[in-house]
């Protein structure tokens, strides 16, 4: 077995900014990321959707780079860029020919130092974000299902249960003062990590990081709302109308154990037994064998990228001739079997091989076709911000590969019980279907 080892170096600048390098000169391309430890889970109450709206504002102008100069300078250097808002982190990233590295560092440092935006920018991006929500959620069949539908049913703490894309009234209420205050509170070097991957040596990378970011002052450690959930004692259910789609749908989510615990590693392997594509038990049983469902898939969303309560969830679109309860019963048969019998030894071995293979692809993997090493960047950033240990990228695989059948049986019994789950039924308005009881 050939194991992939990524050469990683990690330093912290005096202002608290983490810097991680992972050189690979094979192609003259650098992947650069800046991650801030703030996501939509911890955005201010009454400002749902704000963390994401704010992410858009980071492209609207900084001290020395006016609106559009950021995008323009990177595209015209032959590079691509984007940003995304997640539960616990927000990222800004670029892939550029390596001769543009200093330029990108200058731009990222400029917007870490000072944001320079006005009311017109805010109004513009508020409009853009509303169209983003419409194109991804409100005007699409099964839009936002289940990532936006599940949290209010599954969780009780506002941090975990609110609308992460934002209620339009909250987006409208967001002011320029909110933007600047959010920036001052969370967008600090001591709440961020810089990733330099690909065609840049650690020596050059650290020197340039110091040159461009070293002078940015640290700030007070940001306050974080506590995302802890009160213990769940009963199955939770919710109903959402499906405006466009033709098939009844449901999502079933089970709360996960805390990350990097033995139970968490075992749940990740169990998840593969259940959701591992066409070989996974749920797809096999519901789609291929019983043929109750048209789609049945799921998993632990972004397993390395969250730092608070989350679920393993299954998304099912089923045939209208089966009721929701019949479909759920078919799903429960699969879950009961793993709770009672665990999984087979050869099944576990197969899953481990597939996991290792998938993990390598995650590290190499791009985003949008032109973003090499997005996955490596993401994992290094999360392991640095959550654990101060980017080297986990090389060692964490062992935790998954040493899971035993007994571990699987234990976590199946412990976590896959009805009182640990929430179910959302998304029911088409246009068709007559048998409703869930």
């Amino acid at each position: 077995m050939k194991r992939l080892q990524i050469p990683i170096e990690y330093k912290t600048l005096k202002n608290g900014l983490g810097v991680v390098t992972a050189p690979d000169p094979a192609a003259p391309v650098v992947t650069l990321g800046v991650y801030y430890k703030i996501g939509f889970r911890l955005e201010p109450q009454g400002r749902s959707g704000f963390a994401h709206l704010f992410e858009h504002m980071m492209f609207q102008g900084s001290e020395n780079a006016a609106k559009m100069q950021h995008i323009k300078l990177i595209n015209s250097s032959g590079g691509v860029l984007n940003g995304s808002t997640m539960y616990d982190v927000t990222n800004y990233y670029e892939a550029v020919p390596s001769n543009a590295l200093e330029r990108v560092l200058w731009l990222e440092a400029d917007r870490m130092r000072a944001l320079k935006v006005d009311d017109e920018n805010l109004k513009n991006q508020r409009d853009v974000v509303k169209e983003e929500v419409r194109v991804n959620v409100m005007n699409q069949p099964y839009g936002g299902f289940p990532w936006l539908d599940m949290p209010p049913v599954a969780f009780r703490n506002w941090a975990n249960s609110h609308n992460f894309y934002g209620d339009f009234a909250d987006l409208d209420a967001a002011s320029l003062a909110d933007v600047q205050s959010f920036f001052r509170t969370y967008y600090l070097p001591n709440n961020a990590v810089l990733l330099l991957l690909g065609d840049v040596t650690p020596e050059d990378g650290f020197a340039m990081a110091e040159k461009y970011f070293g002078g940015i002052p640290a700030g007070a450690p940001p306050p974080f709302a506590d995302p802890t959930e009160p213990p769940q004692k009963e199955e939770r259910r919710g109903h959402v109308k499906e405006k466009f789609g033709t098939l009844p749908a449901m999502a079933i989510g089970y709360v996960m154990p805390a990350r990097r615990t033995p139970d968490w590693f075992a749940m990740a392997m169990l998840d593969q037994a259940l959701h591992g594509g066409r070989a996974g038990r749920i797809h096999r049983e519901l789609v291929l064998e019983k043929q109750v469902a048209v789609e049945a898939d799921g998993g632990i969303d972004d397993i390395f990228g969250y730092n608070g309560p989350t679920q393993m969830s299954t998304r099912i679109l089923h045939k209208p001739e089966y009721s929701s309860e019949q479909t759920l019963a078919a799903f429960d048969v699969v879950l009961r079997e793993v709770r009672e019998k665990g999984i087979a030894a050869d099944e576990l071995e197969e899953i481990k091989v597939k996991w290792r293979s998938d993990y390598y692809s995650t590290l190499e993997g791009g985003r949008g076709g032109y973003m090499p090493r997005y996955g490596l960047m993401h994992l290094l950033a999360c392991f640095t911000l959550f654990d101060k240990e980017p080297g986990l990228v090389n060692s964490i695989l062992d935790g998954f590969l040493s899971v035993t059948r007994e571990d699987i049986q234990r976590v199946a019994d412990k976590y896959l019980k009805p009182e640990n789950r929430a179910i959302v039924f998304r029911t088409p308005v246009s068709k007559t279907v048998k409703e869930a009881a």
């Binding site: 992939l4 015209s76 250097s77 032959g78 590079g79 330029r103 109004k123 069949p141 070989a279 076709g369």
Partner: protein, 458 residues
């Protein structure tokens, strides 16, 4: 649109360092005795490999029998062989750390695969088995056909699908490219025998192209491939003539009424060129400047200046026989006319005025830069090689592409825009709530209205 870095801080922006040369890996290219073309390239980023087994025919070839037949054939290909059941295939893939997909477009059918290098041989053996000995088990076919029935109903609820479907009908008419998906009745009428016949016709060695990229040694990989894929014979299918597509003249509007829409999907298009055409690089660059990049004029205008949309873009879709140019955006219902006006304004501007030198250089740097990103990942490189081989582009295409992009002049760009950004003959599709958008849509030309099922409405 101001497009130069303004003077007061241009001296603060770090200059670009000297460029490092882009070196494309050596390709090993050969043809097996039975006709299969093989192209290999090494890429050692991770201990895996990625590949495609293409057959140079797809839905268009068999459209006379039924639309989407090659795609249905590809779907059922993975569900059983003479030696393995569907479940065995899926479990074997998992055991080998492999992913596999089988699919078909208008012009190709493909088995895509990726896996750990240590299991390269058994994975390739499975791929060959699917290509040679698929069994089309009756029960598997029946299940996939019923699945497909639900899928074709469901896709009619997606604004993007409805827009694309209508535009293709308008641009291609009775040509096979005019149909992007079968109807429910057509899926219901699929027979297992049709799939078998399609399989025998398309999946032949002489029609095959095998591309593999990844962490292996090329000579050894070639030996394995010769052993695994070398047996079997089979001719290329005979190409069939098809109706010439119409070339619609004059702007016309096609409104697809999608009740309940809270946004309007705009998609406008016109005939353009294929990848093989000598103007391809120039058109790609011109498109990038117009709406093919974040930094493009269209995005600056209707997103960053006016806030009409999140998702504006333009592109050239090259099918094998024909290509077409499109511009699209999902916009707020009350700015449908305003958005179309800006789309055409920017198109006509590229047709009317030479592009300033700085903006041309910026676009050239962008297109040349992102082209080499493909080097950094195995599947990125695979996709570049696929483009070259499927379109039978020159052997030095990857090596000379950037140079070609950088040699385009402002005059050539103007000529290219005049030739292909044929704004007077663009066909405009809008998908949305009729009551809110029809009046705006009618401003842009004679208008026909359809429902989501494709029926014409009064």
């Amino acid at each position: 649109m101001a497009s130069v870095v303004t003077a007061e801080y241009s001296n603060m922006v770090p200059a670009l360092a000297p460029e490092r040369a882009v070196t494309w890996p050596k390709r090993t290219k050969t043809r097996l005795a039975n006709g299969i073309e093989v192209v290999l390239a090494e890429s050692h980023s991770i201990p895996k490999f990625h590949g495609e087994l293409y057959f140079r025919a797809g839905n268009a070839l068999v459209s006379g029998r039924a639309p989407g037949l090659a795609e249905m054939t590809a779907t059922v290909v993975r569900t059983g062989t003479a030696k393995r059941t569907s479940r065995q295939i899926e479990e074997d893939l998992r055991r080998l750390g492999a992913d596999l997909g089988s699919s078909a477009g208008q012009d190709t059918s493909a088995i895509s695969f990726a896996g750990l290098s240590e299991f390269a041989e058994p994975i390739l053996e499975l791929v060959n088995e699917l290509a040679r000995d698929a069994a089309f088990p009756e029960a598997e076919f029946e299940r996939e056909r019923r699945q497909k029935l639900e899928e074709v109903k469901l896709e009619r609820t997606s604004p993007g699908f409805l827009a694309g479907e209508r535009l293709r009908k308008v641009l291609f008419g009775a040509h096979p490219y005019g149909i992007v998906s079968p109807s429910e009745a057509q899926v219901a009428a699929y027979r297992r025998e049709d799939l078998l016949e399609t399989y025998r016709e398309i999946y032949t060695p002489e029609n095959a192209l095998l591309l593999v990229v990844g962490d292996f040694e090329s000579a050894a990989m070639l030996k394995s491939i010769e052993r695994i894929f070398g047996s079997g014979q089979g001719k290329k299918p005979t190409a069939k003539g098809s109706a010439a597509p119409p070339r619609p003249q004059g702007r016309r509007v096609y409104l697809v009424h999608n009740p309940g829409s809270v946004q309007t999907q705009i998609l406008a298009g016109v005939h353009a060129i294929t990848r093989k055409h000598p103007d391809w690089v120039r058109l790609g660059l011109t498109n990038s400047l117009y709406g093919g990049a974040f930094n493009s004029r269209l995005v600056m205008n209707i997103r960053e200046d006016k806030g009409y949309t999140y998702s504006p873009r333009s592109g050239v879709s090259p099918l094998r026989q024909y290509g077409y140019f499109t511009v699209s955006a999902a916009v707020r219902n009350d700015v449908v006319a305003a958005s179309l006006t800006e789309m055409f304004y920017e198109l006509d501007k590229v047709r009317s005025l030479p592009v300033p030198a700085v903006e041309l250089t910026d676009a050239q740097n962008y297109v040349a830069g992102i082209f080499s990103m493909g080097l950094a990942t195995q599947d990125g490189l695979l996709s570049q090689l696929s483009t070259v081989e499927l379109n039978e582009l020159p052997a030095d295409y990857l090596e000379t592409y950037r140079e070609k992009v950088r040699s385009v002049t402002s005059e050539e760009m103007l000529a290219t825009a005049r030739k292909y950004f044929d704004s007077a003959n663009m066909q405009i599709v809008v998908v949305g709530e009729r009551g809110q958008i029809e009046e705006q849509a009618r401003l842009f030309g004679p208008t026909e209205v359809f429902d989501a099922q494709g029926n014409k409405l009064e």
